[in-house]
């Protein structure tokens, strides 16, 4: 009989964790609401509510051991949310860089701009293809671009890191309206001038407006700072022809164009496919940049979940200890309740509810601390063009919600076994115990 109950308990525990992982937080809220309705309307529910109130009222007497649950779970949720926020920040930064209205054209088979090459002739041909927006003067909105990598010392470590220098065509700013000059002015075509992204400015030394930079043994002037809110902020921009001559390149690496509508991508693809001279791939920038973030954000997510799980297991045992101790100290009181007619269910619900409330408190605490410290915290890593991509942690409401679900799951596992013990304690022995 005992074995059967234990097996059922384990199955229920696994089922509850699975449900918590799968359902959105709104469903958890609805379940909580249903619980409240049950407590207010039925007899057993009201019993459960009064037992829970007694339990919660005695928490101040066990402040030390109750804080084990709160702090333990705050630690798990804090670390989990912080790691997931790092992956999310990276994904968002890259995803925002692209959209469905612009397309990037690279050589067939190339996975990143650095391994692509497009000739000047190709650019002339592609710019005339259908589906590309024309500006007021009737020129297609297309920017031939060249990416090179330079070594610059990083502020944080003082050691050299790779920074991406993007040579852009004259239409680049019209193509990407989110790129705005925040300080100074834009570069002049034909001059060795650069504008630096806000992220690059923050990560590397010697990039402030007015400073001089030695790139490929030539002197360049920093004339402005731009913001864009996406991955381009990690880059330095200059005139594509000047970059090309400095680095002795004959062609470009990619062409970015603005489409007349998201559907025009098909028109453009068909047009390019029909021209046998062109061996290039066309993708929306949205697709291109999403693919770039996929690998790293997946790895960070897995690491976050593995670390969170190990910490979560530790926290479960902490919660078990606390709640077993709580049930033990209240054994007589619980036995008295049962002796005067309370059933097992209200007792189980009360212990479980108490643990889960403490867990929820811990989850909120952990998420709040993470939000305060890490939201918009800026870091950088190596991107697919072999250079630094600056991004900020994003502690989004969805991540906080999933952190809280973890907290509730840990609270449930930590509470259910002590709750069952409380309900199954033989009344007579418990009453006799000191």
């Amino acid at each position: 009989m005992n074995l059967l109950i234990n097996v059922i308990t384990v199955v229920v525990v696994i089922a509850v964790i699975a449900v918590l992982v799968v359902v959105p937080i709104a469903v958890v809220g609805i379940l909580a609401l249903l619980l409240a309705v049950w407590m207010a309307t039925t007899r057993t529910g009201r019993q459960a509510w009064s037992v829970t109130r007694v339990g919660i009222a005695t928490i101040p007497q066990r402040l030390g051991s109750s804080s084990v649950i709160v702090v333990g779970i705050a630690g798990v949720v804090g670390v989990l949310v912080a790691l997931l926020a790092m992956g999310e920040g990276f994904r968002q930064t890259l995803q925002q860089t692209g959209d469905a209205d612009t397309a990037i054209i690279m050589r067939g088979g190339a996975t990143a701009e650095l391994s692509s090459g497009v000739s000047r002739d190709d650019f002339t041909l592609i710019a005339q293809e259908p589906g590309i927006v024309k500006d007021a003067k009737g020129k297609p909105v297309a920017s031939p671009e060249l990416v090179v990598v330079a070594n610059l010392p990083k502020k944080s470590s003082g050691t050299d890191a790779n920074v991406e220098i993007r040579g852009v065509g004259e239409q680049a700013f019209e193509l990407r309206p989110n790129v705005k000059i925040a300080e100074g002015r834009s570069f002049k075509p034909g001059l060795r001038e650069l504008v630096v992204g806000k992220g690059a400015l923050a990560q590397f030394t010697g990039l402030s407006v007015g400073s001089k930079l030695n790139l490929a043994n030539q002197q360049w002037d920093v004339v402005g700072v731009f913001t864009s809110g996406d991955a381009h902020e990690s880059e330095l921009w200059g005139d594509v022809e000047t970059v090309s001559t400095t680095y002795r390149r004959t062609g470009y690496q990619s062409i970015t164009v603005r489409l007349t509508s998201p559907e025009a991508i098909e028109t453009l693809k068909a047009g390019i496919a029909a021209d046998p001279r062109l061996k290039v791939d066309v993708k929306t920038t949205g697709d291109y940049y999403s693919a770039q973030s996929e690998n790293l954000s997946k790895i960070i997510r897995i690491i976050g979940i593995v670390i969170g799980s190990i910490m979560g297991i530790g926290a479960v045992f902490g919660a078990l200890n606390t709640m077993y101790a709580a049930v033990a100290t209240r054994a007589r009181e619980i036995a008295t309740l049962r002796a005067i007619g309370f059933r097992g269910l209200p007792v189980v619900v009360s212990v479980l509810l108490e643990t889960m409330l403490l867990a929820l408190l811990g989850g909120i605490l952990g998420a709040a601390v993470t939000w305060l410290i890490f939201n918009n915290y800026t870091v950088s890593t190596l991107g697919s063009n072999f250079s630094q991509v600056v991004f900020a942690f994003k502690v989004s409401p969805a991540l906080i919600a999933s952190g809280l679900k973890w907290a509730l799951a840990i609270g449930f596992v930590g509470g259910v076994f002590p709750a069952l013990r409380a309900a199954r304690l033989p009344v007579t022995t418990a009453l006799r115990e000191l």
């Binding site: 990598v149 890191a161 910490m311 530790g314 902490g318």
Partner: protein, 389 residues
């Protein structure tokens, strides 16, 4: 030591509680062990011992190449034993997703002499030297992509166009499968090495340039002066070089991935803080419910100091026991993780230094969490304690 059984008995007075606390400590130190391994891969990327290699790359940036003519001049620098050169390729086999699975590098045959950690049979090496389109593949990559000797593999997507195929497709013949000499070097088994001369003749641009040189120095003491001498060759030219030891080169690369040390440190701070609170609570409970027993001990003649020592020993024992089990578990898990990843992850085993840091942390945490309960036990007055006041 003669009180060991007393401490042990006290520790397991409440079996469930101690067991749960031990499991919490175990989880914390399992994480400590795993994260220490992650950190050490980033602090010191694995390299073969006693090879004394210098990496000569362009000072301008990693993507800039160097003229092949430098080879002779580097070779003539005193104390340089051997020079090899290589070129990064950056394509993929079948699917762009396989890019991480197999890094391709164009090498000159001498490269294999400079990299003794590449273990290859003599006849396979001969086949490589006599087949222009020959390629060597690491065992891990061969397994993951299901390739064997005799296969023809098309690699595409690299920046280099192939004159003979007209696009970026290059076809290689696998003539050998190599292994890493040491388990910690298994990362190199994710490489495809092919001949630089074949590559150089076919490439659409940049003929006669190489990505980087590897210079082997006869004695590590000469590394610094040799590096300076190599850089002096191309000083003030348009292809200035930057020469550094292989360790420094690798370290600079992984540093760019991010500040892993800071992330690991922050996680461990959160874990240990929680652990102190959790075990502190257990110890406080354990002492609280044992006050009459401690009073009896004192009645029997145990001094204040020995009661303090007993309680402290108990909390240290609790943490060291759980922590050791956690580190042992990490030690077992790491090779399993490495094996499971098919050579893509290569965490070093938990070293002596990790064990020592771990033990210092265990004893430190044991003292911190045991101190307050121990002081309480030491200060209790026998009469009050026995009376239950």
């Amino acid at each position: 030591m003669k009180y060991f059984h007393l401490v042990w008995a006290a520790l397991f007075r409440r079996k469930t509680r101690t067991l749960f606390t031990l499991l919490s400590v175990l989880a914390a130190f399992l994480l400590f062990g795993l994260l220490a391994a992650v950190r050490s891969t980033f602090d010191a990327p694995p390299s073969a011992a006693g090879v004394n290699r210098l990496v000569v790359s362009s000072r301008i940036s990693i993507i800039q190449s160097l003229p092949q003519s430098l080879l002779q001049r580097i070779q003539s620098v005193p104390d340089v034993k051997d020079v090899a050169y290589a070129n990064w390729f950056g394509g993929y086999y079948q699917d762009p997703k396989n890019q991480q699975q197999m890094f391709q590098i164009a090498i000159n045959p001498g490269y294999l002499d400079v990299y003794p950690e590449i273990v290859l049979s003599a006849d396979q090496r001969k086949a490589f030297e006599s087949t222009r389109t020959g390629a060597l593949i690491g065992e891990a990559a061969a397994k993951a992509l299901n390739l064997k000797i005799g296969d023809k593999i098309p690699i595409k997507g690299a920046i280099f166009t192939n004159k003979s195929s007209g696009d970026t497709t290059w076809t290689f013949d696998i003539v050998g499968i190599f292994k890493a000499s040491e388990a910690k070097m298994r990362g190199i088994e994710n490489q495809l090495l092919f001949r630089w001369d074949y590559f150089n003749e076919g490439r659409g641009f940049g003929e006669g340039t190489v990505g980087w040189y590897i210079a082997q120095v006869d004695d590590p003491k000469h590394s610094e002066q040799v590096a300076a001498a190599i850089d002096a060759i191309s000083a003030n030219s348009d292809h200035e070089t930057k020469t550094q030891t292989e360790e420094a080169f690798n370290l600079a690369f992984v540093k760019q991935l991010g500040d892993i040390g800071l992330i690991v440190g922050a996680i461990m701070a959160a874990v240990f803080f929680t652990l102190v609170l959790l075990t502190g609570n257990t110890m406080a409970q354990a002492v609280r419910e044992r006050i009459p027993e401690l009073a009896v001990l004192k009645t029997l003649g145990f001094s204040n100091a020995s009661v303090l020592g007993l309680v402290l020993a108990e909390s240290i024992l609790l943490i060291v026991l759980g922590g050791t089990l956690g580190l042992l578990l990490a030690q077992v898990l790491l090779p399993a993780l490495n094996a499971g990843s098919g050579g893509r992850m290569n965490f070093p085993p938990i070293g002596v230094s990790t064990w020592i840091t771990g033990l210092v942390w265990m004893i430190g945490i044991g003292i911190v969490v045991g101190l307050l309960p121990a002081l309480r036990g030491m200060r209790l007055r026998i009469v009050d304690a026995l009376a239950g006041r």
